[in-house]
Amino acid sequence: MHIAEGFLPPLHAVGWTVAAAPFVVHGARAVAKEVRERPENTLLLGAAGAFTFVLSAIKLPSVTGSSSHPTGTGAGAVLFRPPVMALLGTVVLLFQALLLAHGGLTTLGANAFAFAVVGPWAGYAAYRLTRACGGGLLPGVFVALVVADLATYLTTSVQLALAFPDAGSGLAGALVKFLGVFAVTQIPLAIGEGLLGVLLFRVLTVNARPELERLGLLRPVAEPTAQEEVR
């Protein structure tokens, strides 16, 4: 989903930067507030950032014969709500743009909008929907990570189609072309990411139960340890 440096026309680059900036600023304030008011959650905040740091660094092969990378932004969105991920995701993108020539500064706004704004929000919405329908924490986490991953690549495809409409078939044709590059490749990666998220949250439900209860992800139970041992 990294649009390469210089690969968006200046007008689009500025437009997406303006669109993403308020989310990132709001996210920075959300992170500062979280650390200040609930310092006991700082460890988990680090875990959320670290999770997306690892996952977005690993390029994985897919059934289409090309490779791509997961996003990992859904985990933090479930734990701390999406605004926090707007900052953490942008930090990841900045690291990759500056050190790895992956993505870029002129495309940082567009990439942040897809990776750090749309992905986390879509994943969080999917999580809330799953929970509202009676799904448990782990199914919710799985759905959140899958949806956050796919939504990010969908957004990138739309961004590229808007910037480079096909000469003959227009916007729709270009969208099909870019979805062809990203969408199918991403499906197994999104599922794999969902499974990794479930693994992470299985560890957290046992070892960070007080935090998850405070964050409202788990309902407090009378005897948490006895309850957990059964699983």
Binding site: A47, V54, A57, S67, V181, P188, I191, N207, T225
Partner: protein, 102 residues
């Protein structure tokens, strides 16, 4: 093996299979090029030339993969530290305190 361990093993195997199967099935015919660079090529086919270059580009693919490994190592290190601390905290909370209660 407890049910919990079994579920963990199945989940890990599932993740490995998801990425091993595409590699094994294709029999060496695909290059597994990055989707990002495929998108870049598709844009260049339309006659577009990028108007800005990266400030810094890794000078070789070795340097680049090293920096990617650094990113994964930083993330993995922090994640491992957090999980380790949380586990240690739980173990400490559950363990009796023999020193204070002889």
């Amino acid at each position: 093996m407890s049910r919990r361990t079994l579920v963990t093993v199945v989940l890990v195997l599932g993740v490995v299979a998801l990425f091993a199967v595409p590699l094994l099935l294709d029999g060496g015919t695909s290059e597994f090029a990055g989707a990002d660079s495929q998108a870049t090529e598709a844009i260049e086919e339309t006659g577009y030339t990028p108007w800005f270059e990266s400030l810094f580009s890794p000078s070789s693919s070795e340097v680049e993969s090293g920096l990617f490994a650094l990113q994964a190592a930083l993330g993995g290190g922090v994640l491992g530290y957090v999980v380790g601390r949380l586990r240690g905290r739980r173990a400490a909370a559950r363990a009796p305190e023999p020193a204070e209660n002889p």
